[in-house]
Amino acid sequence: MSTAAAGRLPMPGMKVYNLKLGMWIFLLSEVMFFTGLIGSYIILRFAHPEHFAAPGVVLNVPLTAFNTFVLICSSVTMVKAFAAVEQGDQKGLQRWLLATIALGTFFVGVQAVEYSVLSSEGFVPMAELYHAVGRGAVHAEGAAEAAVVGGPLYGATFYAMTGFHGAHVSIGVLCLLYVYWRARKGKYSAASLGGVEIMGLYWHFVDLVWILLFTIVYLI
């Protein structure tokens, strides 16, 4: 998007309008926030491998792979919303924003169901309550006597990383609702689309972080 089209002055020397530059700087701080979480996870996993389990033993990989696909789809709908407002297509903007809201809400809903199932199976962050036996054993006969898989560090790091990400998605959905409400009032146009663009940057960043989290937490 051109800076003139955004109707805002660019930051001197940056060739990017201030709103977008501010969002990028915020996202860079978020990179360090999530690096802290991911770094802690890697270090704890190196230090205490007995607390962790192989992919798919405790966590539901197929369900989360599907949820990852849902979030990827929401990135497509978000970028299509931006493309629509660039072309002055108000109906398209509202339709794609609504689709993004629906997909984001669905993602959080699936994550809530996943948390509910995992905690009922004993996959919790508290040392005294942790008794995860793995997805293969949890429904089998004699599950009560099955060996515990992993330890509370696994639960603690899992809920910390995915929980903070889920919070970001939830906040994103609330912001998207606000952007959608403004779009319904006709506040955005090809000449004034900064709000949609920075919303998109945040949403895609959340998608990008999940792509990395999914690989690190669920697959490695």
């Binding site: 690096t35 270090i43 493309a83 660039e86 072309q87 990008l208 792509i211 690989t215």
Partner: protein, 89 residues
């Protein structure tokens, strides 16, 4: 960024690649390979996906080079944060 470039952005093609890579990741994760090669392959695919999102959906590909530098600035810090602390083990 150029509006023409935006209109030509292959959003659905990128979506297809992201989907294919996600499926490939899941199958790769369950292959009988040494842990190092599993982790290496999975990280390569994840970084590839993240780059596609940043370049095409966040439109970094169409942004001025200065924004590229700004966007890349925390990456060395992120690597230092993880690598230096991991030396403890």
């Amino acid at each position: 960024m150029s509006e023409d470039a935006h209109k030509e952005s292959p959003y659905f093609l990128i979506w297809g690649v992201l989907f294919a890579l996600t499926v490939a990741e899941v199958f790769y994760a369950f292959m009988e390979l040494p842990q190092f090669w599993l982790a290496f392959g999975l990280i390569v695919m994840a970084v590839w996906k993240a780059l596609l999102v940043a370049l095409y959906y966040m439109h970094l590909r169409f942004e001025p080079r200065r924004l590229w530098v700004l966007a890349a600035s925390p990456l060395p810090l992120a690597v230092i944060l993880v690598v230096v602390v991991i030396q403890e083990f």
